[in-house]
Amino acid sequence: MHHELWNDAAGGFHPVSAPDFLPEAQLREVQLRRLKAVVGRAYEKVPLFRQRLEKRGLTPESMQSLADIAKLPFTVKTDLRDTYPFGLFASPMADVVRLHASSGTTGKPIVVAYTREDVEVWAEVMTRTFAACGLHRGDIVQNAFGYGLFTGGLGAHYGAETLGATVIPISGGNTDRQIMVLRDFGVTAICATPSYFMHLAEKAMEMGVDLKAMPLRVGVFGAEPWSDAMRARIEADTGIKAFDIYGLSEIIGPGVASECSQHEGLHVFEDHFYPEIIDPETGEVLPDGSEGELVLTTLSKKAMPMIRYRTRDITAILPERCGCGRTIRRIRRIGRRSDDMFIIRGVNVYPSQVEAALLNVEGTLPHYQILLTREQGLDQMTVEVEVTPEVFSDKVRALEEVRARLAHAIEHILGIRVGLRLVGPHSIQRSEGKAKRVIDKRNG
């Protein structure tokens, strides 16, 4: 079986991918050993986790089999906020070599930390991701994920570097330049959010650049949900193979799961990230094959172990063995969430963040609505805010200032550009009970 894989140079085998193919019994052994270690580490170093275990009468010794993980308490996003910034760190700052941040559910960001070993594991799982997407040494990878506190850019960067590819760290934006680089350097693979790549492809067509005639072969897309219909369109328009990858900064960043050549679900790198599916209402663990919320436990993280982290992403673990030969299990592509978070240009946004910003400027919460559209393949977020007598003025400049202040407050919290439109009072539709805050017109 492995013989075939070795022959399939583009089919995704890299020495670092070996754990993808571990015999199942061996994989479970590795997982159990690492589970015991990480629970021990969290118990010893993270007071919140220790308290929660003690309350349940548990100790690290309670982990005798993988099934025992179900006894452990969940970790949720608000735990990160409540212990901000260092409360969940299991390593001293002297051992931390990297900090990233992403948006929390309100104004405060959440912070995640990495030791040198964590950064190495991250590079390893991203290398395995690229290998599964058919990349290898010598590929020229244009990394259009945003670099910075967002984990997408640097995560993909280290993975492609470890793979031995040539990395062009172009980051997001400046589409004309992206197309020029893509063409001039004979780029063979691109990393981006799928919506940004669609935008780039449309722009290329406008500029008379035929992506089908380019060496570009593979697109590694993530950081936002996308459909099979979108994949079909991307592949037909540009002649590339499009792969879906999955990750979240609370767990490590990109590199939690990736598609392989089969495009039938995403392989979870479960020797490092242990997946469970639960009923989001009851918290009960569901058997493989059932749909529910994905819960992940980091089996090897040092600086910030996450035990049973609730991702709020709805999916299912696919029980069948994959045609590619990987033994690590797959999850179905993520289609929806169990909360109201949405993703715009790869950035996670909660309506509560927008509310926090509006409240900050106006003192009371005005009626508002978030409109998500896609123009030329690019996600746009527009917040419509009803004008209140408190902020209204007869002067254009004063009103423009209110508009700009509201926009800046939101941009400050979200870290992305948003449109802000002042609208007339009562122009936003009220519905019975909870107002519909988000109108997503991006697909259709």
Binding site: V387, T388, P389, F392, S393, D394, K395, V396, L399, E400, R403, R421, L422, V423, G424, P425, H426, S427
Partner: protein
């Protein structure tokens, strides 16, 4: 004399100007002056009318955001240089004009302009000292 001016927030879309004016017409309210400041996104409708308190309540009852500010109506000679003379007086006194617009009605050989000043009282004083006519409320309605 300061005149109360109503301003009304409008969205920049077809029909948005019509709606508040319909409300006023239905209440039998006559406009003395009207001006519209617009940007790509929104407009501000500025109205001077006799029964402004009633107009305000009518508009607000219909759900419009209405704001009252004072403007100053000034008589300007309707001949070349007429406005220049007046602006020079204001500039000399360091008085800032927020915005201005022309009045709908004409009086004899004078044009009437409406000004929004940061400090209307100071502006009136300066203009009157320079012999430039500031129009009284009752002359207009």
């Amino acid at each position: 004399m300061k005149l109360p001016q109503l301003s009304v927030f409008l969205e920049n879309r077809p029909g948005s100007l019509l709606e508040p004016l319909q409300v006023l017409a239905a209440a039998d309210i006559n406009l003395v002056s009207i001006s519209l400041a617009d940007t790509e996104q929104f407009g501000i409708l500025r109205l001077v009318l006799k029964d402004w308190e009633f107009a305000k309540s009518v508009l607000e009852k219909d759900g419009w955001v209405v704001n009252v500010t004072d403007v100053v109506a000034v008589d300007v000679d309707d001949q070349p240089g007429g406005l220049v003379k007046m602006l020079a007086v204001l500039a000399e006194a360091g008085i800032n004009i927020e915005y201005m617009y022309a009045f709908a009605l004409r009086r004899n050989v004078k044009a009437v302009l409406l000004f929004r000043f940061e400090d209307p009282d100071a502006a009136i004083e300066v203009l009157e000292q320079a012999g430039i006519g500031v129009i009284q409320e009752e002359e207009l309605y």
